[in-house]
Each structure stands twice: as structure tokens, then as C-alpha cells.
Symmetry: C2
Subunit: 306 residues, 2 copies
């Protein structure tokens, strides 16, 4: 007797469930090769408990063609080994996370560390190094000064990155993080800075979580696209109530308040053609089975993003 | 023998301590009548556990000449009684909190409730009714639609308020609150809306907590001042880490990351001459002795605001 799930007498496979919501899936999981997965990328922070090998294998099983990498797990595996693994798997690298943190004068190694991150991105074949500005130094209230230091740091790094074929992707973070993580707070502000440099050297990262509230988000996406500056498009949702750790308040798209589809259409209309990277920092997502996270991501990508 | 704290043989009064930090005060507490207190206002949410009577008495003891009122404690005491209490105490009312919440079509009583709030503000002699937009309705991701409903509500209320001599103060809230509390997210956005109406009818509220991160905050303060639109200036600080309840993450000025003095100077330079209202939602502040909260406020007003 057949054990496939087709036909009236077949064993019934358990209906898929979305994680971490626990709700029944609203659609079938797209199979590997489904053209709707063609531009889907898994940022490996979404399956944070997995090693790079596990994340690559998970992408291959699910037919996710691209991956966003982080420095820590790459360093854990070793740069060369990681690069070989990704190449052999045939995955695209959509981004490399992350550089930046250029606002604290006490961090005298920040530029050197960023140059190493650029080198790593080049070795991995990542087209963009995601740059997070950094927050206010301890006890410092000079926000303009911190912003100027970030700009100066980008100025120092841009030629180095351009020579190596890596684009710096300036990522504005939600103003929630202005004090302690990123003094770059809006897409407009990121573009004002990026425009001092060649578009191939410096672009911007549009992350739905960080920009969705901005009354000017659509105008700024159009501006970014017209200038060829959209280096990466990342998606996740804004969920409420905020969790205790405000860094982990991101949801699977569809679980929160953001109209991600309309923002995706805006970046498409602005000429963006690269990957749509799912980056979800969330303890409940991290605690779930990685394959189920990826399956939920694939379904929701079709339901809520495309 | 004298018990005053002056002279070499006098009993020594305990050195004052700031609350809730517990740090020794960095300056003497300004005495009642000190001209540096002339534009200081206590928003009664800063001493939330106190009744209106207690808050008024606290202001009188400390020489704080103005108070920002909230609907709930006023209703608790009764409107007429509250108005009489404030008048007899000789306190200015700097603002009345709050109206708004006009984004949810299911709240069919919202306009009526706001008209009542306008009536109450008029009776209390409050020059401004603080308007918080409201968030996205449950399950709704149409942010533009919610913003349009808020604008329509302001349009419906502005003539009513103007007839009664009460100004609607549109308060942009930090984008942290965009989903669940206020779809009005920046000062620029608030001004775009306010400018559809007469400046005497509709102004904006500048609260340091909500606007400090905005790369355009100084330009927008200047714009607001030039148009005579600054209806209220409120201060508190952004502290990290954010507390579990993100509504309560405000600090006493000086305890966090905001350069409040520079923002105060910006509103002064823009022509603002009304009160500086301290509004601090913070469980540790609420748990402290109200007189000590007010004393800390008075010291920090001199140290960090003026």
C-alpha cells in the first residue's frame, strides 16, 4: 500500500503548520524549483541555532536559492571552507552581515575590522556588506557628532570596498535603535549619505521592519531605485506587544502590522531585481524547527510578499 | 539652638538625592519664586500615583507654576471641582491630555469623546488639547488609510475646538508606537497636517522623547515656530535598555541619551514662549516620593534643560 499522501486511500500527511504562530498553513508549501522561490533568500540569522552547514542544507532541501550570511558563523566554519561550501551548494550569497559600528571613537579598530569584513564579503561572493551605523558612545548625547563619524567612516571604507567589488549597504535602523545601535534612522538619511559616493560603491538596505512607519518611505524607495542605490531588500514583520528584548521583536511576515507586499512592490517598481531576504530575529522562530521555519517562510513569501 | 541648615553649628540636612537614579543631586534645588522655575510645568502623569489635589499641592510647595492635566484624574475629581482647585491654586494649565485615537472606524464615539475633551479643556483653561493619533485597527495593515482617518478626524474637530478657544496639539509619537498607538510619527508629518488649518486652531506638540532621533528635527522645529504652530513643548529622556513595557521607557531628563537642552534652545529660537512640561512615564519615577520627583525635576530643569 502506498504511503504517499495522494489518492482517496492514501495516508494523510499532517497538515502543515506555520511557525511560530502554530496556525494551520494557509497555502501549500512551494516545492523546490517553483519559480516563486526564484528570488527568495534566507538570512541565516532567521535560523540562528543552525550552523552554516545546516542552513545551507536547509536551503537546498527547500529549494531556496540564496542565503544571507553573518560573520560569526562564517568565522566559526572558517572563511575558505564557508566560501567553498556555498559555491558547491550553488547558492547565491545575497548579503553579508555586517559591518559598521563606526560611531565610537574608543573603537580604534573599527575601520580595520570593517576592511576585514569587506575582504570576507569578497571571498564569499557577497555583493553587499550590510553596514549598521552604531549608536551613541557611552554617556555621549551628541547625535550629530555620531552621525558625522559614521559618515567619515563610510568615506574611509568606500574606496577599499569598491576596489574589491563589494558594495557598502547603508542600513537605516528603526529609530527605536538610535541611542544604542544605529544613529542612521531613515532611508532618506541613508541616501543623503550614500549619494556622496558612486552607486556601485555605496547603496542602501531597505528592511521593512526599519522603514515601514516612515511617511516618506515610498518616495525614498523611488529615489533610491532611480539612483540605482537599493543594495538589498530585507523583510520581516513588526509584531506587538514588543518583547522584553527589543532586538528580538521581529515576526514572520504575515504575523504583524506591516504591509510587506506593498513595500515589495515599491522596490520592484523602483527597479530592484535582486533577492528578497528574510531576516527574522525572534526567539520563538529560533526555537522552532529550522525546516519548518523555512517552509513557513516559503509559504508566506507567496502569501504576503509576492 | 537653631535647626536651620545654615551656619557652622547647624544641624546638617541630608544631601538631596535625585530620583529614581539615587545619585546625589548635582545642584541645589531651586526655591519657590526662583525665576528659573518660571516656565516649568509638571505633567501630572509624572506623579501618576498622586491625586490631582496632591499634584497641585506638590506644585505649590515646590514653586512649580504650571501643570499639565489628564482626563482620568480630572474626571475622578469632577470637572468643575478640578477647574476651581486649579484656579484657586493660581496654577497655569499648560496642556490637557488627551484627545485623538481617531484611526479605528469601530470607535464610532471617538469624535463625540473628543468634543467632550475639548469642552473639558476649555473649562479648565487649558490652551491646548494634546492629540494622539491612534494606531492601526486590529488586523489592519493600511497605514496610509489610518493616517487619512486621523486627518479627517482633525478636520471634523478643528472648528469645534477653535470656537471654544482650545487648540488641537498634534503630537507625533516615536515610530516605536506606530502600530499600536500613533500613526503620526514625525514632526514634519504633524506639520503637514496642521498646516491645513489655522495656526490658532491646530498646532503641534514637540516632545523630546518622540522626536530626538529625527535627522530633520531642528529644521522642523524651526518650521513649526515660523508658522506659530508649537502648541506645547514636553521633555523627558530616552533611557536604555528599554523596559519590558515600552510605554514606560521614559527617563528623568539627564538620565538618558537625549540632548534636551539643545532641543529646548531650538524651540526657544523658533519663538516658543510657553511652558516646558515634564512628562515622564516611568514605573521607578511613579514609585518614588512625589515631592522628591518634583525636586529632582526642578534641579534637572536647571541642569539639563535651561
Amino acid at each position: 500500500m502506498s504511503t504517499t499522501a495522494s489518492g482517496p486511500h492514501a495516508a494523510v500527511a499532517p497538515a502543515p503548520v506555520d511557525v511560530p504562530s502554530g496556525r494551520p498553513a494557509a497555502s501549500d508549501t512551494p516545492a523546490p524549483g517553483d519559480p516563486r522561490l526564484a528570488r527568495l533568500s534566507l538570512n541565516q540569522a532567521t535560523v540562528k541555532r543552525w550552523s552554516l552547514t545546516q542552513a545551507v542544507d536547509g536551503c537546498l532541501r527547500a529549494g531556496v536559492p540564496a542565503i544571507g550570511l553573518w560573520r560569526e558563523p562564517v568565522q566559526e566554519m572558517g572563511l575558505e571552507h564557508s566560501a567553498r561550501l556555498i559555491r558547491r551548494a550553488g547558492l547565491r550569497v545575497s548579503s553579508y552581515c555586517r559591518g559598521g559600528f563606526l560611531t565610537d571613537p574608543a573603537r580604534t579598530d573599527a575601520l580595520d575590522d570593517n576592511r576585514r569584513a569587506v575582504d570576507e564579503a569578497a571571498e564569499l561572493g557577497a555583493p553587499v556588506l550590510v553596514m549598521v551605523a552604531g549608536g551613541l558612545p557611552e554617556g555621549d548625547r551628541d547625535l550629530d557628532g555620531a552621525r558625522e563619524r559614521f559618515a567619515a567612516g563610510i568615506g574611509a571604507l568606500a574606496p577599499y570596498a569598491a576596489e574589491r567589488g563589494v558594495r557598502l549597504g547603508l542600513e537605516p535602523l528603526h529609530p527605536l535603535f538610535c541611542a544604542d545601535r544605529a544613529v542612521l534612522s531613515t532611508l532618506g538619511q541613508a541616501l543623503d549619505l550614500a549619494e556622496r559616493f558612486d552607486p556601485d560603491a555605496v547603496g542602501v538596505v531597505v528592511d521593512t521592519y526599519h522603514v515601514w512607519w516612515d511617511p516618506h518611505v515610498r518616495a525614498q524607495i523611488a529615489r533610491a531605485g532611480a539612483a540605482g542605490r537599493i543594495a538589498s531588500f530585507q523583510v520581516c514583520d513588526w509584531i506587538t506587544p514588543l518583547p522584553v528584548d527589543s532586538l528580538l521583536g521581529r515576526g514572520m511576515v504575515g504575523d504583524g502590522h506591516i504591509d510587506v507586499r506593498s513595500l515589495h512592490r515599491a522596490v520592484l517598481a523602483a527597479g530592484y531585481e535582486a533577492d528578497v531576504e528574510w531576516e527574522v530575529f525572534n526567539e520563538d522562530v529560533w526555537s522552532a524547527d529550522g525546516d519548518e521555519v523555512i517552509a513557513t517562510m516559503a509559504r508566506r513569501h507567496v502569501e504576503c510578499v509576492l
